[in-house]
Symmetry: C2
Subunit: 400 residues, 2 copies
C-alpha cells in the first residue's frame, strides 16, 4: 500500500516521542508499504516563534512571519529522517519546496495550488521513506508560505491526493472521533467509520483531531482519512465517503457547541431585503452567523433568529440596535447548541421527534431548531447543555 | 556606502539583543548607506539542534543534518526583519537560496561556488535593508548546505565580494584584535589596522573573532574587513591589504598557542624520502603538523622536529614508534608556541634577535625556532608561556 502518515505536534513533542514515531513509521515501512510522512513542529515550538515575532511587532510582515514559523517543521522532519536513517532505512527529509508544494501568495494562510508529484515519487521509487515538513509551501515568486491552522493535516491530505495514496493516517494524541465528548458522557464510544459529511457537521467533536479544511479537501480528493493515536496501537476512526459505509447508522454522534450566542428579533417588518440588509451588514463587519431561522409572525411581521460566536455578541448587539429592525430584540449569550448528526437520517423519519422527546422528558426547553439532511441542531439554555447531550446519547443508543 | 554587516550568535543571543542589532542596523541605514545584514543563529540554538541530531545518531545523514542546523539563522533573519519593519524600514529576509548563494555539495562543510548578485541587488535597489540567513547555501541539486564553522562570516565576506561592498563589518562581543591576549597581558592594546597576512599568522588572537577561512576569502576578494563589538560603539580593527596600512609596525602582535606538542627525532638517517615518509603517514591519519624543523646533524644523520596539536600526540607517538626513524625520539606535550608577527619585519633586520634576547633575559630556554617573512615562532616550555608573551609584548613596546 501507499500510505501517507501525518504526526502532529504532541506526537513529536520531544526526542523520545520522535523516536516513537520513527518506530511506528519503521513498522509501517517494514510491512511492505511505501510511506510518506508529514510532520508538524514539536509542540510549543511554533507558538514560541510566534511570541518572538510579536515581541517585535503586533503586525509582523507576513512574508517574514512565514519564513520564521515554517522552521519548526523542518527541524522535526530532519530529526525523524536521522532517527529512521539510524534504524537502517533509506530516507529523505523534504521542505515544502522540495516536496513540490506550490501555493498562492496569501502569506500565513496560503492555499495549495498544485503539488508536483514527481518530486516525492522519484524518492519513493528509490525505496526511500519520504519525510515532508508540513504546514508550508512556496509561492510562485519562490517565497516560503504557510497554510494556517491545521496546515500540516492539509499538507498530508493534499499529498495523499497528488500521489493517489491508498490511505492518509492523521496521528494525534487521541484515539479517534467519539460519539460525543467523553468528558461530558463517559459512555461515549469511538466511531469506527464516519462519512466526510457527518465529520464536517460534527466539527466540534473532531476539532482537536482534524480541522474542517482537511476533511473538505479529503472529501474533494476522495482520500480515505484515518485519525489515530500515536501513543497506542488502537484502531482509529476512518473518515470516508458515504458509499464506503455499509451499515449507515441513524445517528453517528452528538455535538455540543458552547461558543454560541442567540439573537432573536420579533416583529420584524416582513418585507423583501430586510434579512439581506442585516446579514450583509454583519458579514461586512466579519461576524460569522451560524444558525439562521425565520418564522412567519402575524400582522405582516416576522420573527428572525440567528446565532453568532460568543465573542461577537456585543459587537452584533451594537450593529443590530443601530439597524433597529424591530421593537423587540433579544440577545442571549447563555445558550448552547446541541446537534444530532447521522447520514441515516436521510432515509429515516422520526429521528427529529426522538430528539425533541428526549429533551422534553428531561424538561429541557428548546429555543431554536434548525435541521439539515443529516443534522438536527437545537439551541437550549446553557445550563442544560451537558444534560441534553447525555439524554440524546442515550436516546439514540450510542453507548451500545 | 554599501556596507555588509554580520552579527554573530552572542550579538543576537536573545530578543533584546536582536533589538539592539536592529538599532545599530537602523542607524547605519539612516546614515545614508545601503545595508546588507548577515546573521547567525541565536547563541546556543545551533548547538541544541546538533545535540538533538546526535541523540538519534552518531553519524546523522549530512544532507538532513544541514537541513536541521540551517534553521537557526532563518529564525534570526526573520526576527531582525520584523524588528526593522516595526521601526519603519523596508526590509526583506532571505534564506541562502533566496540570496543566491550556490555551493558545492559537500554537506556540513560546503564551499561557496557562486553568488548570484542580482538577487540581493534587486532588493537593495528598492531601498530595502536586506537580511540574509548566514552559514547556508544551496547545492546544484537544490538541497540546503551549510558552510561549517565560521560559516556566517564567510557568507558576509562572500556577499561583500559579490556586490562589491565598500566595507564588511563583523560584529561579535569583543572590540577587535589585540596586540596579545588581554587575559595574559592587561596592557594589550587594540590594533587599529592589520594586514590580512598578519591576521592569518595571528590566528590564535583572532580565533574568537574571525576564522582564517574568512580572512583568506577577504584577502582573495580584497574586502576591507572590520571586526567590532555589537555591545558598544568603539572603533574596531580594520583588516585590509598591506598597501592600505601607511605606518607599517615592526611587530603587530604576540600570539600564544597552548595547544601544541613537540616531537623531536635525533639521529635520523639523512637520506632522501625519510621526511616525506613520516609526514605522508601522519597526513594519511589526519594529523595536522604545524612547525617543521630540520637541522643537519653529524655522521650522515639529521635532527627532525615538528609540532602537532595536543590531542594528536599519543596517536603520533604510536605512528612514529612504528616507523622507527631513529633511536632517540622525544615526545613532549608540555610546550607552547609563542609567535611574534609583523609586516615590518620584512624590511627590518634584528627583529628576531630582539625576541631571542627578550626571552634569554628572562632565562627562558627556546627549544625550537621557525621563521617566515612576517613571523617568528618559538617553542618553549609550557610553564614560561605567559611570561614569554609579556616579555615580548614589552620588548616590542606594544603597550605604547
Amino acid at each position: 500500500m501507499l500510505i501517507v502518515q501525518k504526526y502532529g505536534g504532541t506526537s513529536v513533542g520531544d526526542l523520545d516521542k520522535i523516536q516513537n514515531v520513527a518506530d511506528k513509521v519503521s513498522k509501517t515501512k517494514n510491512a511492505n508499504n511505501s510511506v510518506v510522512v508529514v510532520v508538524s513542529a514539536m509542540s510549543g515550538e511554533t507558538n514560541k516563534l510566534i511570541s518572538y515575532a510579536h515581541h517585535f511587532s503586533k503586525n509582523p510582515q507576513k512574508r517574514e512571519f512565514d519564513l520564521l514559523v515554517s522552521s519548526g517543521e523542518r527541524v522535526t522532519a530532519s530529526l525523524l529522517a536521522i532517527a529512521l536513517g539510524q534504524m537502517g532505512h533509506k530516507t529523505v527529509a523534504l521542505t515544502g519546496r522540495q516536496a513540490g508544494i506550490y501555493t498562492d501568495d496569501v502569506h500565513t494562510s496560503a492555499r495549495i495550488n498544485k503539488i508536483d508529484r514527481t518530486k516525492i515519487e522519484s524518492h519513493l521509487s528509490e525505496n526511500k521513506i519520504v519525510i515532508v515538513a508540513g504546514f508550508q509551501g512556496i509561492t510562485s515568486s519562490g517565497d516560503i508560505s504557510t497554510l494556517g491552522r491545521g496546515g500540516s493535516d492539509l499538507t498530508a491530505v493534499a499529498i495523499a491526493g497528488a500521489i493517489e495514496a491508498n490511505l492518509c493516517e492523521i496521528y494525534t494524541d487521541v484515539d479517534g472521533i467519539y460519539t460525543t465528548d467523553p468528558r461530558i458522557e463517559p459512555k461515549a464510544r469511538k466511531i469506527e467509520k464516519i462519512s466526510y459529511e457527518e465529520m464536517l457537521e460534527l466539527a466540534s467533536l473532531g476539532a482537536k483531531v482534524l480541522q474542517n479544511r482537511s476533511v473538505e479537501l479529503a472529501k474533494k480528493l476522495n482520500i480515505n482519512l484515518v485519525t489515530r493515536n500515536s501513543f497506542n496501537n488502537n484502531e482509529g476512526t476512518l473518515i470516508t465517503k458515504e458509499d464506503n459505509i455499509m451499515e449507515k447508522p441513524l445517528v453517528s454522534g452528538i455535538a455540543l457547541d458552547k461558543d454560541q450566542a442567540r439573537v432573536t428579533l420579533r416583529g420584524v417588518k416582513d418585507e423583501p431585503g430586510i434579512a439581506a440588509k442585516i446579514f450583509t451588514t454583519l458579514s461586512d463587519k466579519n461576524i460569522n452567523v451560524d444558525m439562521i431561522i425565520q418564522n412567519i409572525g402575524h400582522d405582516g411581521t416576522t420573527n428572525l433568529g440567528f446565532t453568532v460566536v460568543q465573542k461577537d455578541i456585543s459587537k452584533t448587539k451594537k450593529i443590530i440596535k443601530k439597524l433597529h429592525p424591530s421593537e423587540v430584540m433579544e440577545f442571549d449569550d447563555k445558550i448552547v447548541k446541541v446537534s444530532v448528526v447521522g447520514v441515516g437520517m436521510k432515509s429515516h423519519s422520526g429521528v427529529a421527534s426522538q430528539a425533541f422527546s428526549a429533551l422534553s422528558n428531561k424538561k429541557i426547553n428548546i429555543q431554536m431548531i434548525s435541521t439539515s439532511e443529516i443534522k438536527i441542531s437545537m439551541v437550549i439554555s446553557q445550563k442544560w447543555g451537558e444534560k441534553a447531550v447525555k439524554a440524546l446519547h442515550k436516546a439514540y443508543k450510542l453507548d451500545k
